[in-house]
Symmetry: C2
Subunit: 196 residues, 2 copies
DNA sequence: GGTTGAATTGACTAATCGGTCAAGATCCGA
DNA sequence: TCGGATCTTGACCGATTAGTCAATTCAACC
């Protein structure tokens, strides 16, 4: 099993560190050390730390999209059950993180956005794309649920936005409480947002 | 009108800067300059930047509690209408911030928590107290709504947690979109969370 | 007036920050 | 086998970081 090329290692390491330490708390030196790359290589591929972050957000979302959202879309029963499986995936991600870091880390995208979105336009847009596409996928699931009669018809686009917001809020509450259970107890109320 | 004493000025400035720039992006020098205090004074009152942040969270919440939550509790009709007035206050806070900073800043507590809660236990607990007390106030409003028959009885503690999560999520989505309207469009779905 | 402790000042440090650069290594097509 | 492009290396830069500290000012009390 070959190791990833330098550029990919930097991107992968970036999202890891920004998640477990935060953007500003992660130094370029530290990042390079963990990716086993030298500073010069870093600035050969990326023009700045922010530049790397933008690429990392896109790459991390591409991975999450295929391994979580698309997976949920392509397996198991359609409709609202997909939402429950998504919540399950989110919870498992947190559980895995707790196993290694002994702290609830919350949302990687939410965390990065809270720290940087109001300071850097490009980074803000990168995360905006992530949430927008999450909404798109979820909207598709709600459409299924409408067709099957699980939920009444209505603005599924708005419903999806509400759901993504609730998920992000639930992850924040879990992080602040340092208890994963808090996430689940809030996330189950998603059902309420699928009406109206 | 006397200016505030040094310690209070540092605390007030801290929450302002942590909100508009972020915790790590705010230097102690910058903070002191804006509070018109000298470095030595800073470390006379606080043992570290984190120490100041903990005090700032508590002070900022004390102010928000009296000027927003208690105000909503003590004026206007009881029950669910209080929730709508709270959302209105949140939105006005964002509108004021946009007027001066030209960017949607989102939740001050949420932002600080996302950046630091997993790295510093004291700071995490400080924000935990904030959200816990927010839940307490909202739970009281839901109790009123149950008594008046607006909503069916149920776990108002859990409902309050869901609502706070949704509000924080809505503020994040607005920040990432850089559009206040996004906050309102999500926040109105709070009603759905008051059932169940 | 004298004493005491709290508050203030600004110069100082060691470490780290993001970022640069010139020189070499490696690869690939001609 | 050559040449040019891509990638790697590690030393280096000025700026900034959080935090220290001894000297000084100030206000309150005896």
């Amino acid at each position: 099993m070959d190791r990833l090329p330098t550029r990919d290692r930097l991107i992968e390491t970036a999202m890891e560190l920004f998640w477990e330490r935060s953007f500003h708390a992660t130094g370029v030196d530290e990042l390079c050390a963990r990716a086993d790359a030298r500073k010069g290589s870093f600035y050969h591929f990326f023009s700045s730390k922010t530049d790397l972050a933008v690429a990392a957000v896109a790459a991390s979302w591409a991975a999450a999209r295929t391994h979580v959202f698309d997976l949920v879309s392509q397996s198991g029963p359609p409709g609202l059950d997909r939402l429950r499986r998504l919540v399950q995936c989110f919870e498992e991600q947190q559980t895995r993180a707790v196993a290694t870091h002994h702290v609830v880390l919350g949302s990687p995208f939410g965390g990065l956005a809270q720290e940087t979105a109001h300071q850097d336009e490009r980074l803000r847009r990168a995360v905006q794309v992530v949430f927008h596409e999450q909404c798109g996928v979820i909207e598709g699931w709600l459409d299924e649920a409408v067709v099957s009669g699980e939920i009444p018809s209505g603005s599924n686009a708005q419903r999806a936005r509400n759901i993504v917001a609730l998920l992000e809020g639930a992850l924040l509450m879990a992080k602040v409480s340092d208890e994963i259970d808090v996430f689940r107890s809030i996330a189950v109320s998603i059902d309420r947002l699928t009406f109206g």
